[in-house]
């Protein structure tokens, strides 16, 4: 299968409070075949500031994909998800829930809040690499998303 080559880097927003997980995702993404630019928000409030280009995110690009952890300080991932999906401007950005939680109620609740997909982080590194690769392949190369006129 051949994917359309992307002419410009893909912007990904990672919302994650755990520094180790941020680092790991960065590492795995550097091995990616898709040219990408990773932005990081350490809590829910920062995530929304980034999306609305406020404060230190004034010049940040609008992300093509959001990777969202659920258990975050200040503003919980579920609240961030609800805010994004209630915002007519932001709701079309695909949100991938990437969390350690396997709880059925988390899965149900986030889909009810219109999460685009829910993934439990695997313990094993090789499996994590595979998961990140699948996310990229699917959301950044396979699916067609509406053009958002960001560039």
């Amino acid at each position: 299968m051949s994917f359309e080559s992307t002419p410009h880097p893909i912007d990904i927003l990672l919302v994650e409070d755990n520094a180790a997980d941020v680092r790991l995702t960065e590492e795995v993404l550097t091995e990616s075949k898709v040219h990408n630019n990773l932005m990081v928000a350490n809590d829910g409030q920062e995530a929304l500031m980034c999306l609305r280009r406020q404060g230190k995110f004034k010049n940040s690009p609008r992300p093509d994909l959001i990777l969202l952890d659920l258990n975050l300080p200040v503003k919980d991932g579920r609240e961030v998800l609800a805010d994004i999906k209630a915002d007519s401007d932001l709701k079309r950005i695909p949100v991938v829930i990437l969390t350690t939680s396997k709880a059925e109620e988390d899965i149900l609740k986030t889909y009810n809040l219109h999460a685009n997909c829910y993934i439990t982080k695997p313990v094993d590194l090789e499996q994590f690499v595979t998961v990140v690769r699948y996310i990229e392949d699917f959301w950044l190369a396979i699916v067609r998303l509406p053009g958002n006129g960001k560039r």
């Binding site: 180790a20 997980d21 059925e104 109620e105 149900l108 982080k121 313990v123 094993d124 590194l125 994590f128």
Partner: protein, 457 residues
């Protein structure tokens, strides 16, 4: 004469009202039991649930009988019964959902169910019925007043009938007044008694609700800690040591690679421990209802899944004819598998012999698993059932020390216990007690009976 009747009516009114309260109480008890079961998955909560069902059924039957002469009350009962049945059907469905799907689905069903609505309507209808009884009682008291006025009229006319008659009439009035005072006193006592009982019961229920809430919180916290807080740092350790090996493996010497291997191995073992802990807690929270189960059939399945180990150790397994018992089939097979697995694992060099036996007791059955293995010193006979307690190093015998702890928890969930008995000539004999399943109806029959109880009358 009519005073005796009047007293009778007061008593009747309070009987009807007490029975209606009993119906409401029964529904609340059934609901409390249901909530308890949904939170904990423990069958012990189905006791109060069943008693609640019985109270509701008996209460409705009693009111039906007591108000047989009152068309209005009978009609209210006709309206009340489908509401009660619908509510009880809902409770039973949710118990089934909790049993078949799990805690989250059960809790979701509670949240989304129309339950409160039904319960409110049940309350409104019973309150109407109680008001009706009150109204009738007031009406009868008015009649009583009228009768007492008539008596006084007779008294005035009685002047012309002479002193004797006056005296007799006076006695009648006196008697009537006394009876009335007695009846009123009785009403007051009954009222005070009822109020006290309601207050007591309310306090008791509030206390119980608080207990349930607390245990619910603890349960949720535990599940959260186990599935998230412990897993996350573990993921970090495992992932980064693996990343280290992947990226820098060729730049490191043998010693460094060995250290990394130990770190990876350690985190994987910790993951096993976390999963063990979860399966241990699941014995209590994810259990299925106890139904008649053939121990023979369960043992057949267990021996099949242990086939490899049995063949490798050339174990000889013998058995008594085994009984029908009341059990959660999955847990019974886990119990037997752990015991027989241990018998094979902790073997001595000579031929492995395992015998599965059964002995009838006053309350059920004692099932035993006897082996000729290394045995357990008597001073350790309690310790071996404690979670993560091991008597040997991992190199002697692998394992985390979870097997017998799970066995103990399973035996206890079945209302029995497990213990170790000294065995002549070495080896060990594990025995667990379990209820007889021979005389019990099938699961479907129990289910049907519940449904009939919820909808009949």
């Amino acid at each position: 004469m009519r005073n005796a009747d009047d007293r009778q009516w007061v008593v009747h009114t309070y009987q009807v009202m007490a029975q209606l309260d009993g119906v409401l109480q029964g529904m609340t008890d059934a609901e409390t039991g249901e909530r308890g079961y949904i939170l904990t998955g423990q069958d012990s909560y189905l006791g109060p649930y069943q008693r609640g069902l019985t109270a509701v059924r008996e209460g409705i039957a009693a009111v039906r009988k007591l108000t047989a002469d009152n068309v209005k009350q009978q009609r209210s009962l006709d309206a009340l019964e489908p509401l009660v049945a619908e509510r009880l059907r809902e409770l039973q469905e949710r118990i089934q959902v909790r049993r078949d799907v799990g805690l989250a689905a059960g809790a979701a069903a509670v949240r989304e169910g129309p339950g409160k609505d039904y319960m409110d309507r049940v309350r409104v209808t019973t309150n109407e019925m109680k008001s009706e009884e009150q109204r009738l009682l007031t009406l009868r008291s008015v009649e009583l007043d009228a009768s007492s006025r008539r008596t006084r009229t007779v008294l005035v006319l009685g002047e012309s009938l002479g002193l004797l008659l006056l005296g007799v009439a006076g006695l009648i009035v006196h008697g009537e007044m006394r009876h009335r005072a007695q009846a009123e006193e009785q009403v007051r006592t009954l009222n005070a008694d009822l109020e006290r009982k309601v207050a007591e019961r309310t306090a008791e229920l509030a206390e119980r609700a608080k207990d349930l809430e607390r245990s619910n919180m603890e349960l949720q916290q535990f599940a959260y800690v186990a599935s998230h807080d412990l897993q996350e740092p573990l993921r970090t350790i495992a992932s980064f040591t693996q990343l280290l090996a992947k990226r820098y493996g060729d730049k490191l010497d043998d010693k460094a690679r060995e250290f990394i291997a130990f770190a990876v191995d350690g985190s994987k073992r910790m993951q096993t421990l976390i999963n063990d802990l979860l399966s241990f807690s699941r014995v209590g929270t994810q259990g299925r209802p106890l139904v008649p189960v053939s121990t023979d059939a369960v043992l057949d399945a267990v021996l099949k899944s242990l086939k490899r180990g049995i063949e490798d150790s050339r174990a000889i397994i013998t058995r008594d004819p085994l009984p029908m018992v009341l059990a959660d089939e999955l847990q019974l097979s886990q119990l037997l598998q752990n015991l027989i697995g241990n018998a094979i694992k902790f073997r001595r060099e000579d031929t492995v012999k395992v015998h599965v036996g059964a002995r009838r007791t006053a309350t059920g059955w004692n099932i035993s698993v006897r082996d000729n293995g290394i045995g357990v010193a008597p001073e350790h006979s309690e310790r071996i059932f404690v979670i993560f307690q091991r008597l040997h190093t991992k190199t002697q015998y692998p394992g985390t020390g979870i097997g017998l702890a799970i066995c103990k928890k399973i035996a206890e969930r079945h209302g029995g216990r497990i213990w170790l008995e000294p065995t002549a000539g070495g080896g060990s004999t594990f025995i667990f007690s379990i209820a007889d399943g021979g005389s019990y109806a099938s699961k479907e029959q129990i289910h049907d009976e519940l449904r009939i109880h919820a909808t009949s009358n």
